[in-house]
Symmetry: C2
Subunit: 204 residues, 2 copies
Protein backbone atom coordinates (compact mmCIF):
# COMPACT_ATOMS: atom_id res chain seq x y z
CA UNK A 1 0.00 0.00 0.00
CA UNK A 2 1.07 3.56 -0.54
CA UNK A 3 1.05 4.27 3.15
CA UNK A 4 2.64 7.71 3.35
CA UNK A 5 4.55 6.51 6.39
CA UNK A 6 3.69 9.62 8.29
CA UNK A 7 5.42 8.25 11.31
CA UNK A 8 9.16 8.78 11.25
CA UNK A 9 11.49 5.83 11.15
CA UNK A 10 13.35 4.43 14.09
CA UNK A 11 12.52 4.28 17.75
CA UNK A 12 9.58 6.52 18.60
CA UNK A 13 9.82 9.19 21.26
CA UNK A 14 8.53 8.06 24.60
CA UNK A 15 5.37 10.05 25.29
CA UNK A 16 5.28 8.99 28.89
CA UNK A 17 8.82 10.20 29.37
CA UNK A 18 7.78 13.54 27.94
CA UNK A 19 5.01 13.71 30.50
CA UNK A 20 7.34 12.85 33.34
CA UNK A 21 9.81 15.54 32.27
CA UNK A 22 7.06 18.14 32.20
CA UNK A 23 5.82 17.04 35.59
CA UNK A 24 9.27 17.18 37.17
CA UNK A 25 9.84 20.58 35.62
CA UNK A 26 6.66 21.86 37.18
CA UNK A 27 7.58 20.51 40.57
CA UNK A 28 11.08 21.94 40.57
CA UNK A 29 9.79 25.22 39.23
CA UNK A 30 7.59 25.53 42.28
CA UNK A 31 10.26 24.33 44.67
CA UNK A 32 13.16 26.41 43.40
CA UNK A 33 11.87 29.04 41.02
CA UNK A 34 13.08 29.59 37.48
CA UNK A 35 16.60 30.67 38.33
CA UNK A 36 17.01 27.66 40.59
CA UNK A 37 15.70 25.28 37.96
CA UNK A 38 18.59 23.14 36.71
CA UNK A 39 18.23 20.94 33.66
CA UNK A 40 20.53 18.34 35.12
CA UNK A 41 18.38 18.09 38.19
CA UNK A 42 15.26 17.55 36.15
CA UNK A 43 17.02 14.74 34.35
CA UNK A 44 18.15 13.29 37.65
CA UNK A 45 14.66 13.37 39.16
CA UNK A 46 13.11 11.85 36.05
CA UNK A 47 15.88 9.31 35.70
CA UNK A 48 16.79 10.25 32.16
CA UNK A 49 19.64 11.97 30.41
CA UNK A 50 19.82 15.64 29.46
CA UNK A 51 19.73 14.46 25.87
CA UNK A 52 16.13 13.38 26.20
CA UNK A 53 15.19 16.85 27.35
CA UNK A 54 17.11 18.82 24.76
CA UNK A 55 15.75 16.60 22.02
CA UNK A 56 12.25 17.78 22.91
CA UNK A 57 12.77 21.46 23.67
CA UNK A 58 15.46 23.80 22.42
CA UNK A 59 16.28 25.29 25.79
CA UNK A 60 15.27 25.84 29.37
CA UNK A 61 12.84 28.65 28.55
CA UNK A 62 10.88 26.55 26.07
CA UNK A 63 10.69 23.67 28.51
CA UNK A 64 9.45 25.99 31.23
CA UNK A 65 6.84 27.49 28.95
CA UNK A 66 5.61 24.05 27.96
CA UNK A 67 5.35 23.05 31.59
CA UNK A 68 3.36 26.13 32.51
CA UNK A 69 1.06 25.92 29.52
CA UNK A 70 0.37 22.26 30.18
CA UNK A 71 -1.83 23.27 33.11
CA UNK A 72 -3.32 26.30 31.47
CA UNK A 73 -6.54 25.71 29.68
CA UNK A 74 -8.60 28.60 28.43
CA UNK A 75 -11.87 27.26 29.70
CA UNK A 76 -15.45 27.81 28.69
CA UNK A 77 -16.65 31.34 28.18
CA UNK A 78 -19.25 32.07 30.83
CA UNK A 79 -22.66 33.21 29.57
CA UNK A 80 -25.18 33.74 32.35
CA UNK A 81 -26.97 36.71 30.89
CA UNK A 82 -25.47 39.09 33.45
CA UNK A 83 -22.24 40.88 32.53
CA UNK A 84 -21.16 41.26 36.13
CA UNK A 85 -21.54 37.57 36.87
CA UNK A 86 -19.85 36.69 33.62
CA UNK A 87 -16.92 38.94 34.48
CA UNK A 88 -16.60 37.41 37.93
CA UNK A 89 -16.64 33.90 36.53
CA UNK A 90 -14.14 34.89 33.89
CA UNK A 91 -11.80 36.40 36.45
CA UNK A 92 -12.15 33.57 38.93
CA UNK A 93 -11.43 31.07 36.20
CA UNK A 94 -8.25 32.90 35.32
CA UNK A 95 -7.10 33.01 38.88
CA UNK A 96 -7.82 29.34 39.39
CA UNK A 97 -5.98 28.34 36.27
CA UNK A 98 -3.04 30.44 37.21
CA UNK A 99 -2.97 28.94 40.65
CA UNK A 100 -3.27 25.42 39.28
CA UNK A 101 -0.47 26.06 36.89
CA UNK A 102 1.87 26.80 39.72
CA UNK A 103 0.26 25.32 42.82
CA UNK A 104 1.03 26.63 46.26
CA UNK A 105 3.48 24.16 47.80
CA UNK A 106 6.88 25.11 49.08
CA UNK A 107 8.23 28.28 47.62
CA UNK A 108 11.44 30.14 47.22
CA UNK A 109 11.74 32.98 49.71
CA UNK A 110 9.92 35.96 48.32
CA UNK A 111 9.16 34.27 45.04
CA UNK A 112 5.59 33.65 44.08
CA UNK A 113 5.93 30.78 41.64
CA UNK A 114 3.48 32.44 39.35
CA UNK A 115 5.99 35.16 38.79
CA UNK A 116 7.70 32.78 36.40
CA UNK A 117 5.51 34.25 33.69
CA UNK A 118 7.64 37.37 33.92
CA UNK A 119 10.93 35.68 33.22
CA UNK A 120 12.08 37.56 30.15
CA UNK A 121 12.96 34.41 28.26
CA UNK A 122 9.69 32.72 29.09
CA UNK A 123 7.25 35.57 28.76
CA UNK A 124 7.12 35.79 24.96
CA UNK A 125 6.43 32.07 24.77
CA UNK A 126 3.37 32.07 26.98
CA UNK A 127 2.11 35.60 26.59
CA UNK A 128 -0.39 34.76 23.93
CA UNK A 129 -1.85 31.67 25.53
CA UNK A 130 -1.97 33.21 28.95
CA UNK A 131 -3.26 36.70 28.28
CA UNK A 132 -4.38 37.31 24.74
CA UNK A 133 -6.75 34.40 24.48
CA UNK A 134 -8.37 35.33 27.75
CA UNK A 135 -8.60 38.93 26.67
CA UNK A 136 -10.42 37.98 23.49
CA UNK A 137 -12.86 35.97 25.54
CA UNK A 138 -13.40 38.92 27.86
CA UNK A 139 -13.97 41.32 24.99
CA UNK A 140 -16.59 39.03 23.55
CA UNK A 141 -18.21 38.76 26.93
CA UNK A 142 -18.49 42.51 27.24
CA UNK A 143 -19.80 42.87 23.71
CA UNK A 144 -22.64 40.58 24.62
CA UNK A 145 -23.34 42.79 27.59
CA UNK A 146 -23.54 45.78 25.28
CA UNK A 147 -25.97 43.96 23.01
CA UNK A 148 -28.12 43.22 26.02
CA UNK A 149 -28.09 46.88 26.92
CA UNK A 150 -26.30 46.31 30.22
CA UNK A 151 -23.42 48.47 29.08
CA UNK A 152 -23.17 51.55 26.85
CA UNK A 153 -22.07 50.95 23.29
CA UNK A 154 -18.84 52.88 23.67
CA UNK A 155 -17.69 51.01 26.77
CA UNK A 156 -13.91 50.76 27.02
CA UNK A 157 -13.78 46.99 27.26
CA UNK A 158 -10.02 46.91 27.29
CA UNK A 159 -9.78 49.12 30.34
CA UNK A 160 -12.27 47.02 32.27
CA UNK A 161 -10.50 43.81 31.42
CA UNK A 162 -7.07 45.22 32.15
CA UNK A 163 -8.28 46.45 35.50
CA UNK A 164 -9.51 43.01 36.49
CA UNK A 165 -6.50 41.23 35.01
CA UNK A 166 -4.19 43.69 36.73
CA UNK A 167 -5.81 43.11 40.08
CA UNK A 168 -5.40 39.38 39.66
CA UNK A 169 -1.82 39.77 38.56
CA UNK A 170 -0.93 42.11 41.38
CA UNK A 171 -2.47 40.03 44.10
CA UNK A 172 -1.21 36.75 42.74
CA UNK A 173 2.28 37.64 41.61
CA UNK A 174 3.26 40.51 43.82
CA UNK A 175 1.42 39.89 47.06
CA UNK A 176 0.79 36.18 46.75
CA UNK A 177 -2.75 36.45 48.09
CA UNK A 178 -6.06 35.31 46.69
CA UNK A 179 -9.01 37.36 45.52
CA UNK A 180 -12.36 36.13 46.75
CA UNK A 181 -15.33 35.91 44.38
CA UNK A 182 -16.98 38.57 46.49
CA UNK A 183 -14.13 40.95 45.95
CA UNK A 184 -14.27 40.29 42.23
CA UNK A 185 -17.98 40.92 42.32
CA UNK A 186 -17.62 44.27 44.02
CA UNK A 187 -15.00 45.44 41.56
CA UNK A 188 -16.88 44.18 38.53
CA UNK A 189 -20.14 45.69 39.72
CA UNK A 190 -18.44 48.99 40.34
CA UNK A 191 -16.87 48.99 36.88
CA UNK A 192 -20.09 48.06 35.15
CA UNK A 193 -22.21 50.52 37.08
CA UNK A 194 -20.02 53.43 36.00
CA UNK A 195 -18.17 52.06 33.01
CA UNK A 196 -15.22 53.67 31.25
CA UNK A 197 -16.02 54.93 27.76
CA UNK A 198 -13.97 54.63 24.61
CA UNK A 199 -11.72 57.61 24.11
CA UNK A 200 -12.23 58.18 27.82
CA UNK A 201 -11.89 61.93 27.46
CA UNK A 202 -15.28 62.85 28.86
CA UNK A 203 -15.79 62.79 32.57
CA UNK A 204 -19.21 64.10 33.47
Amino acid sequence: MTRPANEPLGRPTDAELTARILAATGELLIERGYAGLKIEQIAKRVGCGKTAIYRRWPDKAALTAASVLEHTEVGEEPDTGDVVIDLVLHATQNQTNQARGTAAAAQVEGYSPWRVVFEPEVFPLIWSALFEQRRDQGVHLIERGIERGQLPADTDAELILDTIAGLTLYRQSVKGTVITPDQYRVIAASLVADPPRAGSAARG
Copy 2:
Protein backbone atom coordinates in the same frame (compact mmCIF):
# COMPACT_ATOMS: atom_id res chain seq x y z
CA MET B 1 40.96 67.78 68.72
CA THR B 2 39.22 64.59 69.73
CA ARG B 3 37.70 64.23 66.30
CA PRO B 4 36.20 60.73 66.43
CA ALA B 5 37.57 60.15 62.98
CA ASN B 6 34.30 58.73 61.80
CA GLU B 7 35.69 58.52 58.34
CA PRO B 8 37.72 55.40 57.67
CA LEU B 9 41.39 55.77 56.95
CA GLY B 10 42.97 55.58 53.55
CA ARG B 11 41.71 56.62 50.16
CA PRO B 12 37.99 57.42 50.20
CA THR B 13 35.59 55.79 47.76
CA ASP B 14 35.03 57.82 44.64
CA ALA B 15 31.46 59.07 44.79
CA GLU B 16 31.47 60.15 41.19
CA LEU B 17 32.58 56.70 40.12
CA THR B 18 29.68 55.26 42.08
CA ALA B 19 27.34 57.53 40.18
CA ARG B 20 28.80 56.55 36.83
CA ILE B 21 28.45 52.86 37.65
CA LEU B 22 24.81 53.33 38.57
CA ALA B 23 24.17 55.29 35.41
CA ALA B 24 25.81 52.69 33.17
CA THR B 25 23.87 49.96 34.93
CA GLY B 26 20.63 51.76 34.21
CA GLU B 27 21.50 52.20 30.56
CA LEU B 28 22.51 48.60 30.03
CA LEU B 29 19.48 47.41 31.96
CA ILE B 30 17.29 49.20 29.46
CA GLU B 31 19.31 48.10 26.46
CA ARG B 32 19.71 44.43 27.32
CA GLY B 33 17.42 43.56 30.20
CA TYR B 34 18.47 41.98 33.46
CA ALA B 35 19.61 38.66 32.06
CA GLY B 36 21.67 40.42 29.42
CA LEU B 37 23.26 42.69 31.96
CA LYS B 38 26.92 41.67 32.38
CA ILE B 39 29.05 43.07 35.18
CA GLU B 40 32.12 43.05 33.00
CA GLN B 41 30.37 45.17 30.41
CA ILE B 42 29.34 47.72 32.98
CA ALA B 43 32.95 47.97 34.07
CA LYS B 44 34.06 48.31 30.49
CA ARG B 45 31.58 51.09 29.74
CA VAL B 46 32.48 52.97 32.91
CA GLY B 47 36.17 52.39 32.40
CA CYS B 48 36.77 50.76 35.76
CA GLY B 49 37.50 47.29 37.07
CA LYS B 50 34.98 44.80 38.34
CA THR B 51 36.60 45.24 41.72
CA ALA B 52 35.24 48.75 42.01
CA ILE B 53 31.74 47.40 41.48
CA TYR B 54 31.92 44.47 43.82
CA ARG B 55 33.41 46.67 46.51
CA ARG B 56 30.19 48.71 46.48
CA TRP B 57 27.50 46.07 46.02
CA PRO B 58 27.57 42.40 46.97
CA ASP B 59 26.17 41.13 43.69
CA LYS B 60 24.38 41.88 40.46
CA ALA B 61 20.95 41.94 42.07
CA ALA B 62 21.92 44.54 44.65
CA LEU B 63 23.51 46.70 42.01
CA THR B 64 20.39 46.47 39.87
CA ALA B 65 18.15 47.33 42.80
CA ALA B 66 20.27 50.34 43.64
CA SER B 67 20.10 51.51 40.04
CA VAL B 68 16.33 51.22 39.92
CA LEU B 69 15.76 52.83 43.29
CA GLU B 70 18.03 55.72 42.40
CA HIS B 71 15.28 57.10 40.16
CA THR B 72 12.41 56.17 42.41
CA GLU B 73 11.29 58.81 44.83
CA VAL B 74 8.10 58.43 46.81
CA GLY B 75 6.83 61.94 46.19
CA GLU B 76 4.44 64.19 48.00
CA GLU B 77 1.13 62.80 49.16
CA PRO B 78 -1.62 64.60 47.26
CA ASP B 79 -4.30 66.32 49.34
CA THR B 80 -6.86 68.20 47.26
CA GLY B 81 -9.89 67.51 49.39
CA ASP B 82 -11.35 65.10 46.83
CA VAL B 83 -10.52 61.41 47.19
CA VAL B 84 -10.96 60.73 43.51
CA ILE B 85 -8.53 63.44 42.47
CA ASP B 86 -6.11 62.38 45.17
CA LEU B 87 -6.24 58.81 43.92
CA VAL B 88 -5.64 59.89 40.35
CA LEU B 89 -2.67 62.02 41.33
CA HIS B 90 -1.32 59.22 43.45
CA ALA B 91 -1.62 56.72 40.60
CA THR B 92 -0.22 59.06 37.98
CA GLN B 93 2.71 59.83 40.21
CA ASN B 94 3.46 56.15 40.56
CA GLN B 95 3.30 55.55 36.87
CA THR B 96 5.57 58.49 36.14
CA ASN B 97 8.12 57.40 38.68
CA GLN B 98 8.10 53.90 37.33
CA ALA B 99 8.57 55.16 33.83
CA ARG B 100 11.37 57.48 34.86
CA GLY B 101 13.08 54.60 36.64
CA THR B 102 13.37 52.64 33.46
CA ALA B 103 12.89 55.16 30.65
CA ALA B 104 11.63 54.10 27.28
CA ALA B 105 14.65 53.93 24.99
CA ALA B 106 15.72 50.84 23.13
CA GLN B 107 14.39 47.61 24.55
CA VAL B 108 15.00 43.95 24.42
CA GLU B 109 12.51 42.15 22.26
CA GLY B 110 9.39 41.50 24.24
CA TYR B 111 10.92 42.83 27.44
CA SER B 112 9.44 45.86 29.07
CA PRO B 113 12.36 47.18 31.06
CA TRP B 114 10.12 47.82 33.98
CA ARG B 115 9.66 44.12 34.28
CA VAL B 116 13.03 44.04 35.99
CA VAL B 117 11.18 44.55 39.24
CA PHE B 118 9.99 40.97 38.93
CA GLU B 119 13.42 39.42 38.69
CA PRO B 120 13.32 37.02 41.62
CA GLU B 121 16.66 38.16 42.95
CA VAL B 122 15.82 41.83 42.64
CA PHE B 123 12.22 41.88 43.78
CA PRO B 124 12.80 41.48 47.53
CA LEU B 125 15.29 44.34 47.45
CA ILE B 126 12.96 46.91 45.95
CA TRP B 127 9.59 45.61 46.99
CA SER B 128 9.32 47.81 50.02
CA ALA B 129 10.48 51.03 48.45
CA LEU B 130 8.46 50.50 45.32
CA PHE B 131 5.15 49.21 46.63
CA GLU B 132 4.80 49.30 50.39
CA GLN B 133 5.64 52.94 50.88
CA ARG B 134 3.23 53.94 48.16
CA ARG B 135 0.59 51.71 49.64
CA ASP B 136 0.89 53.35 53.04
CA GLN B 137 0.48 56.71 51.37
CA GLY B 138 -2.61 55.47 49.57
CA VAL B 139 -4.16 54.08 52.73
CA HIS B 140 -3.69 57.40 54.45
CA LEU B 141 -5.23 59.13 51.50
CA ILE B 142 -8.32 56.97 51.66
CA GLU B 143 -8.61 57.37 55.42
CA ARG B 144 -8.79 61.10 54.90
CA GLY B 145 -11.58 60.51 52.42
CA ILE B 146 -13.45 58.52 55.03
CA GLU B 147 -13.06 61.32 57.56
CA ARG B 148 -14.48 63.72 55.02
CA GLY B 149 -17.45 61.42 54.54
CA GLN B 150 -16.63 60.77 50.90
CA LEU B 151 -16.26 57.09 51.60
CA PRO B 152 -17.95 54.71 54.03
CA ALA B 153 -16.04 53.90 57.18
CA ASP B 154 -15.61 50.23 56.32
CA THR B 155 -14.18 50.87 52.87
CA ASP B 156 -11.75 48.17 51.77
CA ALA B 157 -8.84 50.51 51.08
CA GLU B 158 -6.50 47.69 50.23
CA LEU B 159 -8.72 46.42 47.45
CA ILE B 160 -9.07 49.86 45.91
CA LEU B 161 -5.34 50.48 45.99
CA ASP B 162 -4.50 47.04 44.69
CA THR B 163 -6.90 47.52 41.82
CA ILE B 164 -5.26 50.76 40.78
CA ALA B 165 -1.75 49.46 41.36
CA GLY B 166 -2.58 46.30 39.44
CA LEU B 167 -3.88 48.25 36.48
CA THR B 168 -0.69 50.29 36.39
CA LEU B 169 1.43 47.20 36.72
CA TYR B 170 -0.44 45.29 34.05
CA ARG B 171 -0.39 48.07 31.52
CA GLN B 172 3.20 49.02 32.20
CA SER B 173 4.86 45.65 32.60
CA VAL B 174 2.76 43.33 30.51
CA LYS B 175 1.43 45.51 27.74
CA GLY B 176 3.94 48.32 27.83
CA THR B 177 1.31 51.00 27.33
CA VAL B 178 0.46 54.09 29.32
CA ILE B 179 -2.64 54.91 31.31
CA THR B 180 -4.01 58.39 30.75
CA PRO B 181 -5.13 60.54 33.68
CA ASP B 182 -8.65 60.34 32.25
CA GLN B 183 -8.59 56.59 32.42
CA TYR B 184 -7.36 56.72 35.97
CA ARG B 185 -10.12 59.18 36.78
CA VAL B 186 -12.82 56.93 35.40
CA ILE B 187 -11.58 53.93 37.32
CA ALA B 188 -11.08 55.84 40.55
CA ALA B 189 -14.49 57.48 40.29
CA SER B 190 -16.09 54.13 39.65
CA LEU B 191 -14.39 52.57 42.65
CA VAL B 192 -15.24 55.45 44.94
CA ALA B 193 -18.85 55.67 43.79
CA ASP B 194 -19.48 52.04 44.67
CA PRO B 195 -16.64 51.20 47.02
CA PRO B 196 -15.68 47.75 48.25
CA ARG B 197 -16.34 47.20 51.94
CA ALA B 198 -14.16 45.53 54.52
CA GLY B 199 -14.95 41.85 54.80
CA SER B 200 -16.38 42.29 51.35
CA ALA B 201 -19.08 39.70 51.88
CA ALA B 202 -22.03 42.00 51.34
CA ARG B 203 -22.89 43.23 47.90
CA GLY B 204 -25.94 45.33 48.13
